[in-house]
């Protein structure tokens, strides 16, 4: 056992804190304890492991305790919430402050029939057996999923009955407002046959203080279900965020997941999808705008397990300052997945000498009769394009921003829900110098 593991064990006494949801429920307690045991046995990944080569998570090990804190801090004001809200009035908003559901700040009226939305904590306390498979050890794609199982405090659980349609997006807002808090949200979406919904998973930080968020989102799509998932990172400048998103797709289902990383200090998203039935569609999009010493790492993996699946991965990063953007896109086409149509592309724009992009496509193809393409580029702003814009009267900063906006907007334009897309366009413009100038002219 190394020093880190001893430290964890001594502060946690090797057991999971009593106050966590479901502590009275045998399967929950068992799941948490065995997950914690797996975590302490394996420990944090080091940079010697290929999957964590570019992303250093040692800082997690320096914490005295990884357990979530229990002192509820001041919740943000309603005015502040409105300022952050992505969707217009009438949207379904579920707010979590430092990992705990806050009913007062949320707005969940008017959910249509066939749509059930509850807090994970409530369901675990009620021993809801439908959740049990999601906490199975085999669902863990990284060791952080085990850590989340051990310590998860709360999250959103969305059940969509067959044929249920949620027209207005569901906005899950996770706010970190306590200093040095460790936050473990876990979200579960179960979409019945033919059900449809858009779910926004939005992380906000109110302080410059360190926050540690380890979030797991699991989405299960029955035949013909369609889920659009959008993750938005807007955490404070000292925030650490490690997350896993996994989709299990049955025949003919459609899964689209967007990741917009616009904040935080160090972030890592592991996004995986199993296309288990024939004729599934899966699209993963990602955009990261990084500056200063920010670090964002997207690791994706799509497994084509059945025939005639269609998958697309589009990731773009804009790196300024000394920031670093990492992308590793895996595509595994298993034997028996004939007729697969898959494409992956990664684009990187470096705006400064010390910015860095690491990009690695990884394709493993074990079936015949498939169409799989991939591409990866790393470049800078084109001098000719800049001159072209300046010769039409744009100042240098606006010209640079317009080109960056054009590059980034390729990903934003893929968001289906129009209000959400418009708000994210605005967030991107806000990040660019002269963004206001460009917006006026748009």
């Amino acid at each position: 056992m190394n020093v880190q593991q001893e430290a964890w064990n001594s502060t946690n006494l090797g057991v999971v804190p009593q106050a966590l949801a479901g502590h009275d429920v045998p399967w929950v307690r068992q799941a948490r304890q065995s997950a914690f045991a797996r975590f302490t046995a394996q420990g944090l990944p080091t940079r010697r492991e290929e999957e964590w080569k570019y992303t250093d998570v040692a800082v997690f090990g320096h914490r005295a305790s990884l357990a979530p804190d229990y002192i509820p801090p001041d919740p943000p004001s309603e005015a502040a919430l409105h300022a952050w809200a992505l969707s217009s009035a009438g949207a379904h908003l579920m707010v979590f402050v430092n990992g705990h559901y806050d009913a007062d700040l949320s707005a969940l009226d008017g959910l249509p029939a066939g749509v059930r939305l509850q807090s994970l904590a409530e369901l675990l306390d009620d021993a809801d057996a439908l959740l049990q498979p999601f906490f199975d050890a085999r669902q863990e794609h990284t060791i952080f999923a085990a850590l989340n199982t051990a310590f998860t405090t709360d999250g959103a659980v969305l059940y969509l009955a067959p044929g249920a349609v949620l027209d207005t997006p569901l906005h899950l807002l996770f706010i970190a407002s306590g200093h040095g808090t460790a936050i473990y949200p876990r979200n579960i979406v179960v979409a019945g046959e033919g059900a449809r919904a858009t779910v926004i998973e939005h992380y906000l930080g109110t302080l410059e203080a360190h926050s540690f968020t380890n979030a797991i989102t699991q989405i299960s799509l029955a035949n013909g279900a369609a889920i659009e998932h959008c993750k938005l990172l807007q955490e404070g400048s000292a925030a650490f965020h490690i997350a896993g998103i996994h989709a299990e797709q049955a025949a003919g289902s459609h899964f689209v997941s967007h990741s917009f990383a616009l904040g935080g200090h160090l972030g890592r998203n592991d996004i995986t999808a199993n296309l288990s039935g024939p004729g599934c569609h899966c699209t993963l999009n990602g955009l990261y705008l990084l500056d200063g010493r920010q670090h964002m790492d997207h690791h994706t993996r799509i497994d084509h397990l059945a025939p005639d699946g269609v998958s697309r991965q589009y990731y773009r990063g804009v790196m300024d300052g000394e920031s670093r953007g990492v992308f590793n896109g895996k595509l595994i086409v298993h034997a028996g997945a004939a007729g697969t149509d898959a494409h992956q592309s990664s684009g990187n724009l470096l705006l400064s000498r010390r910015a860095e992009a690491d990009t690695k496509p990884q394709l493993e193809i074990y079936a015949d009769d498939v169409k799989c393409t991939h591409g990866a580029t790393v470049g800078q702003l084109d001098e000719d394009s800049l001159f072209y814009l300046r010769s039409r009267g744009m100042d240098m900063e606006s010209a640079r921003s317009l080109l960056i906006y054009g590059f980034a907007n390729d990903i934003v334009a893929r968001v289906g829900a129009p209000d959400l897309r418009a708000r994210i366009e605005q967030l991107v413009l806000d990040r660019l110098p002269q963004g206001d100038n460009i917006k006026e002219l748009l």
Binding site: D382, E383, D384, S385, F387, Y388, L389, R390, S391, R392, G393, M394, D395, M396, L402, L403, Y405, G406, F407, A408, N409, D410, I438, E440, L441, L442
Partner: protein
């Protein structure tokens, strides 16, 4: 409007323009012709303010200002427009957005009210029809996947929408078939005005059949070796650039 005196320009230390004198007045159309390597495009790019060219001697004054001291955007604000020989692709930025941004930037500079989406659309649709451009191209990214001819027509569209005081067209006719050439020429001719000067940099005489210049200058090895009226272009077509070079060599000897 534009007065160039003894302009010397080098690229990476190599002299390209070796003493250009040129006087362009409002209302005039000048054609600059010459063989490949004569420096025609260099002249156009230097006037527009592209990086990478060193002015080693001489001046260029535009409406009384030192043009060479101005940034590219300052020149655009002052009414200078360059139609590129190789127009650039700008992925992710639609023609509509690009043009509206450029037009409103200029209007703002001139103290005019910016055009809203509807007014702009009305204006640009009319101009697109005139240059034979399909309206559907408005939502396409600037020049992305465009043929050479389409790119050139897009330059002329910008010319008609932005309405500059000094328009420099850098080999706008190259790569165009006859029908496209006529449309481009119509677009240019429609911009002739007593308050506007047009400089056509061209290799071939064809365009000048449709856009008849007031003055023709022949560039050779970085110098204007002969100037004349529009009939000079037709003589060149008949006799070739070699004739002009021989003539100018003979004059030097004499």
């Amino acid at each position: 409007m534009l007065t160039i005196k003894n302009l010397h320009v080098a690229v990476d230390g190599k002299p390209i323009l070796c003493g250009i004198d040129l006087n362009v007045r409002a209302g005039e159309v000048h054609a600059i012709m010459g063989p490949n390597g004569s420096g025609k495009s260099t002249l156009a790019q230097v006037l527009a303010g592209r990086d990478g060219y060193q002015v080693t001697a001489g001046t260029a004054r535009y409406l009384g200002q030192d043009l060479l001291a101005m940034t590219p955007e300052q020149r655009a604000h002052a009414g200078v427009f360059l139609a590129f020989q190789y127009p650039v692709e700008i992925p992710g930025v639609s023609i509509a957005l690009f043009l509206k941004t450029a037009l409103n930037t200029l209007r703002k500079q001139r103290g005019l009210a910016e055009l809203d989406a509807m007014d702009f659309l009305g204006l640009v649709r009319e101009k697109m029809k005139r240059v034979g451009m399909d309206e559907a191209l408005l939502s396409r990214a600037v020049n992305e996947g465009f043929s050479g001819g389409e790119k050139k027509r897009n330059e002329i569209l910008q010319l008609t929408v932005l309405a500059p005081k000094l328009a420099i067209l850098d080999e706008t006719d190259s790569g165009l078939d006859i029908d496209a050439l006529k449309l481009v020429a119509d677009g240019v001719n429609a911009m002739r005005s007593s308050r506007r000067a047009i400089v056509l940099v061209t290799h071939y005489q064809r365009l000048l059949d449709y856009v008849v210049p007031d003055h023709v200058h022949v560039l050779s090895h970085g110098r204007i070796v002969k100037s004349g009226g529009s009939e000079l272009a037709r003589e060149l077509e008949k006799l070739g650039y070699g004739w002009v070079e021989a003539e100018s060599a003979a004059r030097l000897v004499a």
